[in-house]
């Protein structure tokens, strides 16, 4: 697992350094059946190999078009994360594709990396900086989970529930966004995302989104969430107490 993570990290680092060139679909950090019995293998397969692959292909198409014009080349050289923060500078005819496919690409990458067969209650934090931050902003880790769950239940149609860091204030925020929108669009750092598009749970749970969310908490990887929090908080600006 550690090897897989390290490989992916180096891989993505290279991708970021080179800029948003021709992006491959990041491999899953574990086997397709690794999250059973909580998230079923069939869903992991379709989710990664079909949905995430399609976003990858569409994003690459849009990046190719941005690269082709002198005035938009610079946008194609940004990392996708950064590109999503510059949507208003993307030409109108490409903007929705960048927003939807770029969002889909980064969101699914974050999602799959946020889950682990070793996750769930076993590695829920009881101390450390993430624990302190969640307690400070939501009252307790349990209370954070409750509010995040509510945000995920309230989304009507397709969308994601998010935990994000506002780099200007250091505040942690829970939000629900439609379709493949991400906190990156408004300059925030996404830390945890929960996909509540029906494709994320329909094969196993059909309309029972509540049961899917319960399964999510059984595989959420608190270690990688802590690492993401520390990175985001460390590079956050502002005098906010972190």
């Amino acid at each position: 697992l550690e090897m897989a993570r390290a490989t992916i990290a180096i891989f993505l680092l290279c991708a970021c350094v080179v800029g948003a060139q021709h992006l491959p679909l990041p491999p899953l950090p574990y086997g397709y059946d690794a999250l059973e019995p909580h998230i079923d293998e069939a869903t992991m397969r379709v989710h990664h190999l079909s949905h995430a692959q399609t976003y990858t292909d569409k994003l690459n198409g849009a990046l190719g078009k941005l690269r082709a014009a002198a005035s938009t080349k610079w946008l194609a050289k940004l990392g996708v994360d950064e590109l999503l923060g510059h949507l208003d500078e993307v030409p109108e005819e490409l903007r929705m594709t960048v927003r939807n496919a770029g969002g889909g690409y980064v969101n699914h990458d974050l999602f799959f990396a946020s889950l682990s067969p070793a996750g769930g209650e076993a590695n829920e934090p009881t101390a450390g900086s993430l624990h302190a931050a969640l307690t400070r902003h939501f009252g307790s880790v349990g209370e954070f989970k409750k509010q995040f769950t509510l945000a995920a239940l309230e989304i009507f149609g397709s969308g994601w529930a998010w935990l994000a860091l506002d780099p200007t204030t250091g505040n942690l925020e829970i939000s629900g966004l439609p379709n493949q929108d991400t906190p990156l669009i408004s300059g925030k750092r996404p830390l945890l995302g929960l996909d509540v598009w029906e494709h994320a749970y329909y094969l196993k749970h059909q309309s029972r989104r509540k049961d899917y969310i319960a399964d999510f908490w059984r595989v959420v990887d608190w270690d990688s969430l802590s690492a993401r929090y520390e990175t985001a908080a460390g590079s956050a600006t502002g005098k906010a107490e972190l």
Partner: protein
């Protein structure tokens, strides 16, 4: 409940509450007739003749249980009915649209998703005066998210079940067919444009064929459970006569992410006779299809 009491509750539920609910959703004219009939029979009820010591019949009818019940029902029916929408039955068995739309999907889609919209719109409107589900659509967005989402959801799915049927191999005929040719060039070109737009609706939503105010047909899509009947619901103002649900729940069990395949399959189960009849009766007259 003790068996006897339980039976009484069951009887009341089946012979009082359910019929009252059904009658309460009928048009006003029907309710008036029923009210008159019940009032008449209530007036005619008397307590059973008690043979007094002199063998005379009992005095004129007093309040008895049946009279009170009939009176209450009359009041219930004459007054504006409760805003209670009901889940319409599917016009065909769950497996009727196989192999294009699978039985499992029809089950979940109708029995869970549509049922939830009905329950939620009833909850949202509890205690407020009744509008037909059709009339509810116009101001649904202004009425707030609960009415918009669940009221829209109920109407959209009612139309969806109504316009489909077992595969017949038949396409549109008659005036509707010529209107399709006029607007799109041909039935094939209509399918092309409809397919492209249905595939292009990102996230959850619907693709619609509708009649504009100038009588011409058009295709457009809406997000989530919005529809073209709603003020602000669709870029194209039109009366929908055909809708395709492109929420993932409509196709995921059989097609997963292969939405274009589902859209292709859909054309096989459109009941064009029904669609044409709804067009003639309502949309052509500038009226929405009622349910």
């Amino acid at each position: 409940l003790p068996a006897q009491q339980g039976k009484a509750v069951c009887r009341e539920r089946n012979f009082v509450i359910k019929p009252v609910r059904r009658l309460a959703s009928m048009p006003f004219a029907v309710r008036c007739l029923v009210t008159a009939a019940l009032a008449g029979s209530a007036a005619g009820l008397r307590t059973p003749a008690k043979l007094g010591t002199a063998g005379k019949a009992a005095p004129a009818a007093k309040f008895d249980r049946r009279g009170v019940l009939a009176g209450a029902m009359s009041a219930f029916l004459a007054a504006p009915a409760l805003a209670e929408y009901t889940l319409p039955d599917l016009p065909y068995p769950y497996e009727a649209l196989e192999p294009y739309i699978d039985a499992a999907t029809m089950r979940f889609h109708h029995d869970k998703h549509h049922a939830t919209y009905v329950a939620n719109v009833n909850k949202a409107l509890a205690g407020k005066p009744e509008k037909s589900i059709l009339d509810l659509q116009k101001d649904a967005i202004a009425a707030g998210p609960a009415v918009r989402n669940s009221g829209g959801g109920h109407y959209n799915h009612a139309l969806f079940w109504d316009e489909m049927g077992p595969s017949s191999g038949k396409g549109p005929t008659g005036e509707l067919a010529s209107k399709i040719d006029e607007a799109f060039g041909s039935y094939d070109k209509f399918k092309e444009e409809f397919s492209a737009k249905a595939a292009g609706r990102f996230g959850s939503g619907w693709c619609w064929l509708g009649v504009k105010s100038d009588g011409k047909l058009a295709i457009d899509t809406t997000p989530n459970q919005d529809n073209p009947l709603m003020d602000g619901g669709c870029e194209t103002k039109m009366i929908p006569i055909l809708g395709l649900d492109v929420w993932e729940h409509a196709y995921y069990l059989k097609y997963q992410n292969r939405r274009p395949e589902y859209i292709s399959a859909f054309f096989n189960v459109i009941n064009w006779d029904k669609v044409a009849s709804n067009y003639e009766k309502y949309a052509k007259q500038g009226k929405g299809i009622p349910f």
